[in-house]
Assembly symmetry: C2
Homo-oligomer: 277 residues x 2
């Protein structure tokens, strides 16, 4: 984060979980943890853009990453201030100049996926043609060490479930881990973090607990990360986009198991594989 942006993160921290009483199949009462979910309305220069339902951990990063990934703000230098306020359940982003053709971009509610009904504004598919990702190898040994490091990080998921986790990783290190009720929010928050910290994606690995649908592949390609690892499966369109964009796509990655859906020539098998199923 540079001094040119005023990003107020003092009120960022919502408690992610709520403790509540439920009844089990024996009729016995139990205390369980439940993931929070809060509406957060995003305003861009006083224009209401969207209401996101979020776990609430990183409202400012979510707002920035959303605007970046929807290509509503092309350059972080345009951002003057970001301020989240849970009392009004809003996050306000102000830019130095007017956002160009904002109404036109908001008018098209096209390509959408993931949950099946996300919202990506404008002519995103056409912009994809311009993405160039570096060809990067990934070692099996790195992947195994990384999966081990990631296993310790799903905090909300382990206590409350109902969330997805996404992580930005460098080699075997988990640099930034975000859980949210929607995996699209988690990847957007990571995009916001990378923007603020001026991080490039080329040498990084993106991990998610969620499925690799078309929208996930698009979002990860937009932040320039060439290697995508998921604990879950893929859709055919997710695979097709990974192939066209040159993304190395590894799914069903858990413990010492994984399946390479795209880019197997870039996966170096240098470690003992799974011995048990």
């Amino acid at each position: 984060m540079t001094a040119t942006h005023h990003v107020d993160r003092t009120r960022a921290g919502l408690a992610p979980c709520h403790s509540m009483e439920v009844s089990d199949e024996f009729g016995e009462l139990r205390q369980v943890q439940v993931a929070g979910e809060r509406p957060l309305t995003l305003y861009l220069n006083k224009r209401e853009i969207v209401t996101l339902m979020t776990l609430g951990g990183h409202p400012e990063l979510l707002a920035l990453g959303y605007l970046r990934n929807q290509r509503l703000i092309p350059d972080l230098a345009d951002v003057k201030a970001v301020q989240a306020d849970w009392e009004t359940e809003s996050v306000v982003v102000t830019t130095r100049n007017q956002v160009r053709s904002l109404e036109e971009k908001l008018g098209r509610r096209t390509i959408t996926t993931g949950c099946g009904q996300g919202t990506v504004f404008g002519d995103l598919m056409e912009d994809l043609e311009r993405i160039r990702l570096p060809e990067v190898n990934v070692r099996q040994s790195t992947l195994y060490a990384l999966l081990k490091n990631l296993a310790a990080r799903n905090e909300v998921y382990r206590s409350a479930g109902a969330v997805h986790g996404c992580a930005l990783c460098l080699d075997t290190k988990v640099e930034f881990f975000v859980e949210d009720v929607g995996r699209h929010n988690a990847v957007d928050a990571i995009a916001g973090h990378m923007w603020l910290e001026d991080m490039q994606g080329g040498d990084r690995i993106f991990y998610t607990t969620g499925r690799l649908t078309s929208e996930m592949v698009i979002k990860v390609a937009q932040i320039g990360v060439p290697t995508l690892v998921s604990r879950s499966g893929v859709t055919h369109m997710g695979f097709d986009l990974a192939r066209r964009l040159g993304v190395t796509m590894i799914a069903r990655a858990k413990g010492r198991h994984f399946l390479v859906f795209n880019g197997r020539e870039r996966v170096i098998l240098d470690a003992p594989a799974a011995l048990t199923t």
Copy 2:
């Protein structure tokens, strides 16, 4: 389906899965099944509304249910025709009369959740106050028998993963089961089915493999179903809405286990519970 609507379902059947070759952690090639994902652009009287990413099994029901759940069409009697065409990846809904205040409704991209970034138009939360659900008991023995019947139905999930299933159930019978890449699409398709078949929700159970976020609870309440069962967890806002709407909310339902999050007074424990964990 009554004779007054022309719903062309001749081209409805997209193959749900694709067979493809992947490489495993030993570097060995394997054939796996991958769930399809196709864009489907919904037009309402020539106005482009949204593009949904879908498995493609029920494009007409998805379109109708989407328009119903977004409250863009208040009454099925307004619908003149529904026609899906995979060549143009579109589904066209025409109504007998102009849709009232359509532009106004489309202008607000508010409350959204689930994947965290869905799209629900207009002042949905205000309309919720008008929903009245019947108070219906559910028997543990019914639930167990239903879960057993449901276990056989996750066809795409079992072969390809990356999809969610939703089912409309009457007692222990699965009346209609839909899988889709997004659980919001699956619930919308069920809403479309109920509309066309003129089915009421009051005596039914809604089951989903997905999480019970705010948007899922809202959608199920909108179709009038008072009992909601999920294999997954809940969010706190999902629970809060279930409580306000009087929805019986049962989650973590698998085999002989379940947790009652709301409405435990309506769950009749009449069967031997789980003996093992």
